[in-house]
């Protein structure tokens, strides 16, 4: 009689391995990376060797064969070490490469997608414009057909990875009369004539995140560089929106846990008035509230990713968890700075970095003001 196959739980083991990777390779360098704004190439090489960039894609397509749950476990654990690094890796896995993977030709796969999976090329997702963020109907960047080519013109801003990107996935309007139904994504290599990238933005937090403006001045690209069917850009964006929001929630959860653990440890060691401060009820209240919110965010997140993995609609849930987990991260990072007192104000300790970095999460994947409105709409309110 054959014995049932004994196998490891991939979620548990992946979390353990990435957690150990973060402890050994990221946390010791986090302060230096934050201060210099740079991630060592050697560290990115190790991340690429672990094949993290291919986490979400099928093995046949050059990926690892993972799913939304595994992807979010990765994002969460990386964020415990350094949020900006986690965001860089997570975006490359999803927004930076998704449309190229789905709609790119075989040649584009070989030239761009496969190197992106090896970490040799960086993809960047261009959605936000000076006058259009959550309001997609206001997208002003245009794509005009001219013979066999498309001509891209417009300006994108707050574009993560733009200064280091090798190619861009750009949301453009192809037919203004159709509103959001005229939207489409286009593939624009960085070396396309007419692409201009602004100097890197200086930001409050996530200081290794390379953010800039990208201008497209009559950029001519081949006809096949349209990513998806004409007029289906909004549909393809909506199809990854739940993933984007869950990933943002995972980053928030990882950051919240990092802040919680730092404050927890500090409170057990810091003496005040003859006893460690974890013996004081007001500190206990803060820790209890942080832990409760983190647990709730964790349950919400992985309930949402399991729905995504099962192919079920998770739009509402992903908005709720992005909203809740990010607010949790902001609260936990704030409370950590209060528990740690003046030490949190010192650049020597990571609490200040958590506090600054948390603000980054408020905007990506939808501002909370827009999300709350959309959640209410989903509730038919």
């Amino acid at each position: 009689m054959s014995k049932p196959a004994l196998r490891s739980d991939p979620e548990k083991l992946l979390r353990q391995i990435i957690s150990r990777f973060v402890a050994q390779e990221i946390t010791p360098l986090a302060r230096d990376m934050d201060e210099s704004g740079k991630i060592p190439k050697e560290l990115m090489r190790k991340i690429a060797q672990m094949r993290l960039f291919g986490m979400r894609y099928p093995v046949k397509g050059g990926g690892c064969g993972g799913n939304s749950t595994l992807y979010c476990i990765m994002s969460e654990e990386l964020a415990r070490g350094l949020l900006s690094l986690a965001a860089k890796v997570s975006k490359q896995c999803l927004m930076g490469t998704e449309h190229l993977y789905r709609f790119g030709s075989k040649e584009m796969h070989e030239k761009y997608f496969a190197p992106a999976m090896r970490g040799e090329k960086i993809g960047s997702f261009c959605l936000t414009e000076p006058e259009a963020g959550g309001d997609l109907g206001a997208v002003a960047t245009t794509a005009t057909k001219d013979g066999d080519e498309w001509v891209i013109s417009g300006m994108k801003t707050w574009i993560t990875n733009a200064p280091i990107a090798d190619f861009f996935t750009v949301l453009c309007q192809t037919d203004r009369s159709k509103g959001v139904r005229g939207l489409n994504f286009f593939f624009v290599p960085r070396d396309t004539p007419g692409v201009r990238i602004s100097p890197r933005f200086e930001t409050l937090g996530t200081r290794t995140t390379d953010i800039a403006e990208v201008a497209f001045n009559d950029c001519r690209i081949p006809g096949e560089y349209i990513l998806g069917e004409v007029g289906k850009g909004l549909k393809s964006l909506l199809s990854i929106l739940a993933d984007i929001r869950s990933m943002t929630a995972a980053l928030a959860l990882g950051l919240a846990k990092a802040a919680y653990e730092t404050a927890f440890q500090y409170a057990k060691e810091r003496q005040a008035f003859g006893k460690t401060i974890n013996k004081y009820q007001l500190i206990q209240s803060k820790i209890a509230n942080m832990a409760t919110d983190i647990w709730a965010a964790e349950l919400m997140l992985y309930e949402t990713t399991r729905k995504i993995d099962a192919g079920l609609p998770a739009g509402k849930e992903s908005m709720m968890v992005k909203y809740f987990a990010t607010e949790t991260a902001c609260r936990c990072c704030d409370e950590a700075t209060r528990i740690m007192g003046a030490y949190a104000y010192s650049m020597e300790y990571p609490a200040q970095r958590y506090f600054r970095d948390a603000r980054f999460l408020l905007y990506g994947g939808g501002t909370h003001e827009v999300l709350q409105q959309n959640i209410a709409r989903e509730l038919k309110f």
């Binding site: 490891s8 083991l13 391995i17 150990r20 291919g54 690892c64």
Partner: protein, 265 residues
């Protein structure tokens, strides 16, 4: 070339806590990991695979959850894995453990040629450094211990042994057993695509019990052990201050002697 690597799952701590009543390890709240020296052994094997081409098979003995160290080893680049798991294996001392591992290696040898067995120098939970040498005795193979670097030559291996007084270079015929305490590079990280493959239905990980390796119950586990643990306890740490006096030179000499006597340098 075929290489077998012996790996052990251990609690992730150098400060082992013991249950004072039972004398056993307290495992609650302590994550299990691949023993660090075994990880170096695996890296050594994978470097040989990179350089010469080899099939690397990892073998571990432990409870079902020890499957995780096999899976991780596969994710790092091992080609096959065998978990030796059976209630009869529980409570084994180093003698019974090396007997069981030896029987598994014999079964592997019946399937394929085996050129080299690599093990970590010692496990962080037992610190005996006996398994590798005992397995070598069981197989009747030569052994090279405390290796920090390893190269293959025609039908033999050249190894550099890290010893307290320096490094010893030795040549040894194959097949052989090697225990390692270092590697020329840090152990590589697991690759996620391989990890998910190793967790899946097509994974070549096998689980062998006592019947599979034809190991009688009287020779394995607690029954097969030659030693019995009478008592385990956490040693109490004490502070003792030595005041060093004299000139700076005398103090330095005194300090070097004191550290050397305690095997600290």
């Amino acid at each position: 070339m075929n290489i077998a690597v012996l790996v052990k799952q251990v609690p992730d701590t150098n400060e082992i806590k013991l249950d004072p009543k039972t004398g056993t390890l307290i495992r609650e709240g302590v994550e299990s990991i691949m023993n660090p020296d075994d990880r170096l052994g695996l890296e050594t094997a994978l470097m040989l695979k990179d350089a010469h081409g080899a099939k690397v098979t990892v073998i571990s003995m432990g409870p079902p959850q020890a499957i995780d160290v096999i899976t991780e080893a596969m994710a790092m680049g091992a080609d096959g894995g065998v978990l030796l798991s059976d209630r009869n294996f529980a409570g084994a001392d180093t003698w019974a453990t090396s007997y069981t591992l030896g029987k598994a290696l014999e079964k592997l040898l019946a399937e394929t040629r085996l050129d080299l067995v690599i093990a970590g120098r010692q496990a962080i939970d037992g610190d005996t450094a006996q398994i590798g040498p005992q397995v070598a005795e069981h197989l009747g193979w030569p052994q090279v211990t405390y290796v920090s670097e390893l190269k293959l030559e025609d039908g033999s291996l050249r190894a550099w042994r890290k010893l307290p007084g320096g490094v010893e270079e030795v040549v040894c015929p194959l097949p052989a057993v090697v225990t390692v305490l270092d590697a020329p590079q840090d152990p590589r990280w697991a690759m996620v695509d391989r990890l998910l493959w190793a967790c899946g239905p097509k994974s070549p990980i096998r689980v062998w019990d006592a019947a599979d390796i034809e190991a009688p119950a009287k020779s394995t586990g607690l029954r097969g052990s030659l030693t019995q643990v009478m008592q385990t306890f956490s040693p109490k740490s004490e502070r003792k201050t030595d005041w060093i006096e004299g000139t700076a030179e005398e103090q330095a000499r005194h300090l070097v002697n004191a550290l050397s006597q305690r095997n600290l340098i």
